[in-house]
């Protein structure tokens, strides 16, 4: 029986290939994601093992709690080194600095750009801790000397004697290159740039004089590192973590990797979307194929095939197709991993490379997921195939018996839709965070899609008559026939359109959501920011040296009062999460920024000192905190403090975080002395653009990672990332849209095959080839538009419902009507594109053969 199916597949090449393509693309994205992330992970493992080579035991500052701002815990006192040296079993101990910095390229910009791979400042380490091997020159021995990693030196064409400008917490300073180094076999650290200088210089540059970021320890021969760890731990205060060198390398690597794990999740979600869309297409293709094979299957039943054999033959076909498609997808995934890397590079995130890593897990997951999706999607058509009776189907014009399910399809679809909406609401309203929100949301979305797809066969006729009306006016009888054909089998049209609906709904949802965020940020800045000039880090999230703002105040004429906002995170006793804590300057804040008070007024700011705090309305509500109550706070530097809430504010787009204290308090308890952004008022008569130009010139010279912007420019930079992320989502969602277009092609090809005689008749009574092509094209456009209309409606619904909980944080819905109309037009054009091949096929039918066709 399977042989019959396989021969059938071979005889329907185009159809088989198109159906399989849906699986191939989804599996390719899964495999590509795993290969890319595994390759990156492997690279990080190698790098950190290399860096910690020769280190038996490592001492690092203790992380007080896990937070999502990835702030480095504060450095510890340099005196710890001598305490370590006196521990029995310690052969050698050496303290070092390793911190973020800025290394300027030949054009005066940060190497790799503001969102690229990081730049590091490292102190030189003595043997055996030194991971560097000098290709030319030597390590830094005097002030003003640095060595550079070979990767960066090659890229910038730096040689011994080149002058390179490096900055930490303060203005950039010139250094002379005295050495170019490799890390074992590696030229560099995954694209990061590293400047190595003497410990003294590194401490000065990073504002850590008398402090250390870590201590490397070599054990006396014969002493096991693991045995030395507790001894070192006992000799030091509690604000450090002591690990063996191998453990520390693994920890560093896993920290870095977990920072990238969101990437894997996002890519796998998109792969899931593609496969979900592909499942619709497989379901459709198998349904139509079985309808057309009714006579063949009935004949098989007549000559003695059992129902079980019919089921087996259809599922067998699905199994073979799914498996072969998965294998091909896996192969393409290897190439796709490189494509994804290029995509990330295009949006400014250069990921480390290395030789491709293909784990067994990648192979197993890809093959199983691809094959299972195909099998599950073909299950319902296969069961319907078993309902074909012997003899009956051999009659002329026999049709596939309706499934038992078809009668209850509409109410069932409505119920599924309702369950989906219910799940989404459940997740959004009751879930507090993490999987309690996104799991119900994810399943809710899937249910909504499936429910709508089942229900939508009822909507095909009304939507087709609306979107088909202009075509009938333009295309006359071709338009009418296209509309009639599209509504002939509403179930088939609905599930073909459903595939496109999913892609369109997600695109629409993302578009509306992005527009909402942009509008919210814009209006928050319009309403609150009174400053004429804003200075922040170019990457938009890292802090900048406080001296940058001071330099502008001192040197740029035209700037008036200034106020800095700083940022950290804390743990609050008794409540979940790690709220953002901002530091403000109570004396000057109101001159450049208007707090949107809920309880309190600008007068409240005067009391914002010592242990007083103001909190955002939404945080207070969700954590059940009120004015007058106290909160016990643990800071990232390990301090404990008790603050009294003296006011609440509306947290418009999270400008002030969840909690706000004075900058003095933040410095005291959080040890934060760098600015997140600095806002400046303008002196009367000062020209904002002129002031900006002067401030920019100053920053470019001394603080190249900071940038100055006018208020309108600040608005632009605050929303720039939205466009980038949206574009990235579009690219990934386009995969799902492409799969759904294959679905339209497939359905059209199958429909044309069914309507061969009709087309022959039309040609015989005088229809031109052009008119025939037009029928197919219009039908395709109608199908695409049905999907697009449903998708747009769902997308609007998703965006509205998902943004509800954010309304309290100042999220404002905005409907970019122009963009949505363009999306609809694009969907229509996609329909034209999908129709090219089927239309050509239809118009090339030989009239006589078509009429004689059985």
């Amino acid at each position: 029986m399977l042989a019959v199916s396989l021969k059938g597949m071979a005889g329907r090449k185009l159809r088989t290939v198109l159906t399989a393509l849906a699986v191939v693309l989804g599996v390719a994205l899964i495999a590509g994601t795993y290969i890319l992330t595994d390759t990156i992970d492997r690279q990080f493992d190698q790098i950190f093992a290399q860096v910690r080579q020769g280190v038996d035991v490592s001492v690092t500052p203790k992380k007080v709690f896990n937070s999502d701002n990835n702030a480095n815990p504060p450095a510890f006192a340099a005196s710890y080194v001598s305490q370590v040296q006196s521990v029995p079993g310690v052969q050698k101990a050496s303290g070092g600095i390793f911190d973020n910095g800025v290394i300027l390229d030949n054009k005066g910009k940060k190497i790799g750009g503001s969102n690229g791979a990081p730049n590091f400042i490292s102190s030189d380490a003595p043997a055996p801790f030194n991971p560097f091997q000098y290709v030319t020159g030597h390590g830094p021995t005097a002030p003003g000397e640095i060595s550079i990693d070979k990767y960066t030196a090659d890229k910038q064409h730096w040689k011994i004697g080149s002058i390179v400008r490096v900055g930490g917490q303060g203005p950039v300073q010139p250094f002379k290159v005295v050495g170019i180094a490799k890390f074992g076999k590696l030229n560099g650290l995954a694209g990061a740039a590293i400047a190595v200088m003497t410990l003294d210089e590194a401490q000065k540059l990073t504002n850590k004089v008398g402090k250390l970021d870590g201590i490397d320890i070599q054990a006396v021969k014969g002493v096991k590192p693991a045995a030395l760890v507790p001894r070192v731990q006992r000799a030091l205060p509690a604000n450090v973590t002591v690990r063996t060198g191998a453990e520390q390398a693994a920890k560093d690597s896993s920290d870095t990797k977990s920072g990238l794990s969101f990437l894997k999740t996002i890519l796998l979600v998109f792969a899931g979307v593609s496969l979900f869309v592909g499942a619709f297409m497989i379901f459709n293709s198998f349904s139509i194929t079985i309808a057309q094979r009714t006579r063949e299957l009935s004949m098989l039943r007549t000559v003695g095939a059992s129902r079980r054999q019919v089921l087996g033959s259809v599922l067998g076909e699905a199994l073979v197709m799914g498996f072969v498609a998965s294998v091909i997808g896996l192969g393409i995934g290897i190439g796709l991993a490189k494509g994804l890397k290029a995509l990330f590079k295009a949006i400014g995130a250069d990921l480390p490379g290395g030789s491709t890593v293909l784990e067994t897990r990648t192979i197993i997951v890809s093959l199983i997921v691809g094959t299972l999706v195909t099998l599950v999607a073909s299950l319902s058509p296969a069961v319907r195939a078993t309902r074909i009776e012997p003899i009956e189907g051999v009659r002329e014009g026999a049709v596939l018996p309706k499934s038992r399910f078809s009668r209850i399809k509409t109410p069932f679809g409505a119920v599924t839709l309702a369950i989906g909406v219910g799940l989404m609401c459940l997740g959004l309203l009751t879930g507090s965070s993490g999987s309690a929100v996104w799991l119900p949301l994810l399943f809710g979305t899937v249910f909504v899609f499936i429910g709508t797809a089942m229900f939508s066969s009822r909507l095909v006729k009304p939507i087709a008559s609306v979107v088909g009306a202009p075509m009938e006016r333009i295309g006359g009888v071709s338009g009418q026939l296209a509309r009639e054909n599209a509504t002939r089998n509403t179930g088939r049209t609905a599930s073909t359109a459903a595939a496109l609906m999913i892609g369109l709904a997600l695109v629409t949802g993302v578009t509306i959501f992005a527009a909402g965020i942009k509008k919210s940020v814009d209006s928050a800045i319009d309403n609150s920011v009174k400053a004429g000039l804003v200075v922040e880090n170019k990457d938009g999230w890292t802090s900048i040296p406080a001296s940058a703002g001071k330099a502008i105040s001192a040197q740029v004429p035209g700037v008036g009062a200034s106020s800095a906002i700083r940022l950290s995170q804390a743990k609050v006793a008794g409540v979940s999460g790690t709220p953002d804590v901002s530091g403000v300057d109570p004396a000057t804040l109101s001159s450049v920024y208007q707090v949107d008070w809920k309880k309190g007024s600008n007068a409240t700011l005067q009391r914002l000192n010592g242990n007083n705090v103001i909190v955002s309305e939404s945080w207070a509500k969700s954590k059940d905190k009120k004015v007058g109550q106290q909160v016990n706070v643990t800071t990232q530097s390990g301090n404990h403090a008790t603050y009294t809430i003296i006011g609440t504010f509306k947290n418009n787009v999270h400008f002030l975080g969840d909690l706000a204290v004075s900058n003095a308090t933040l410095a005291r308890d959080f040890k934060i002395n760098e600015d997140q952004f600095v806002m400046f008022g303008l002196k009367p008569g000062a020209n904002a653009d002129q002031v900006k130009t002067q401030a920019s010139a100053l920053l470019a010279k001394d603080f190249p990672n900071a940038e100055a912007d006018t208020k309108s420019g600040f608005k632009k930079t605050q929303t720039q990332w939205i466009g980038q992320i949206t574009a990235f989502f579009y690219v990934l969602l386009s995969l799902a849209v492409i799969v759904s277009l294959f679905g339209i092609v497939n359905t059209l090809v199958l429909a044309i095959y069914e309507r061969t005689r009709e087309l022959g008749l039309l040609r015989a009574v005088g229809m031109s080839k052009r008119q025939v092509r037009r029928i197919v094209r219009y039908e395709s456009v109608i199908t695409a538009l049905i999907g697009a209309v449903l998708g747009t409606v769902l997308g609007v619904f998703f965006a509205v419902i998902i943004s509800r909980p954010l309304a309290g944080e100042g999220f404002q819905l905005s409907f970019p009507v122009g963009t949505l109309v363009i999306l609809l037009i694009l969907a229509g054009l996609a329909g034209v594109l999908a129709a090219i091949t089927p239309a050509r096929r239809a118009s090339k039918l030989n009239v006589l053969e078509a009429l004689a066709y059985e």
Binding site: G476, V477, Q480, L481, E484, N485, R488, R757, E758, L761, L762, R763, A764, V765, G766, M767, S768, K769, Q771, V847, L848, L851
Partner: protein
């Protein structure tokens, strides 16, 4: 036989296949069809009668020879012109599958005009629908009509454009005798009342007897051209040529 010829074919050859397997479906057919008359092309299976009709109607091209319809030489026309010719000058009735299932009876009738982007003449459309007895079935879909009614829709469609020639390929082949008679009488009346030229392919002597004129084909050659008589005379004729 005094009427001028509207369709004439000269020395038509049509070969299918290559080399030894080649079959000469038409082997030098020269024949003419007078204007305003009803002609039946008869012959046993494989005689080439359907091939002849397809070539006369521009649906197939001869290997050699020429066809002139209404002063137009078909061999000189490309696919586009042939399609236009079919649309404007020919009407078609087939044995099976004559109608589009998604269109109503009336829409099926007006289909060729719609394809040409023209509007039907209301009075003429009403008269035709009345004549084929479908006044109360105008909005029915083909699936709601009997086989005879469907074929009458096809007849009306073929006549609506007042074509130069109506080609009917075994129009009664799929109908019971009563429904078949109705269809034949309609074609007869079209020739008598509207002066419509009709060329019908059939292997049924009873159907051929309704025509004015009979052309008999055997093995791709015309073996007899004769005025039609009664059905039993036609049966005799067929026996004679066999």
């Amino acid at each position: 036989m005094n009427a001028p010829l509207i369709v004439s074919a000269v020395d038509l050859h049509r070969r299918y296949g290559e080399g030894d397997a080649a079959v000469e479906a038409l082997d030098g057919v020269t024949v003419g069809f007078p204007k305003g008359r009803f002609t039946a092309i008869m012959g046993p299976s494989g005689s080439g009668k359907s091939t002849l009709m397809h070539i006369l109607a521009g649906l197939d091209r001869p290997t050699a020879g020429s066809v002139v319809v209404d002063d137009v030489e078909l061999g000189s026309l490309d696919d586009k012109k042939l399609t236009q010719l079919r649309r404007d000058k020919f009407g078609f009735i087939f044995q099976f599958f004559n109608l589009l299932p998604v269109l109503s009876a009336e829409e099926n009738i007006t289909l060729p005009l719609k394809i040409a982007g023209k509007k039907p003449e209301k009075a003429w459309l009403d008269e035709l629908i009345e004549a084929v007895g479908l006044s109360d079935r105008r909005d029915h879909r083909p699936s709601q009509l009997s086989g005879g009614q469907q074929q009458r829709v096809a007849v009306a469609r073929a006549l609506l454009t007042k074509p130069a020639v109506v080609f009917a390929d075994e129009p009664t082949g799929n109908l019971d005798s009563k429904a078949g008679d109705e269809v034949l009488q309609m074609l007869r009346r079209a020739a008598d009342e509207y002066g419509q030229t009709v060329i019908m392919v059939t292997h049924d002597p009873h159907a051929a007897a309704v025509a004015d004129h009979i052309v008999v084909l055997v093995d791709g050659k015309v073996v007899r051209e004769t005025p039609a008589g009664e059905a039993d005379e036609v049966v005799e004729l067929m026996k004679a040529v066999a």
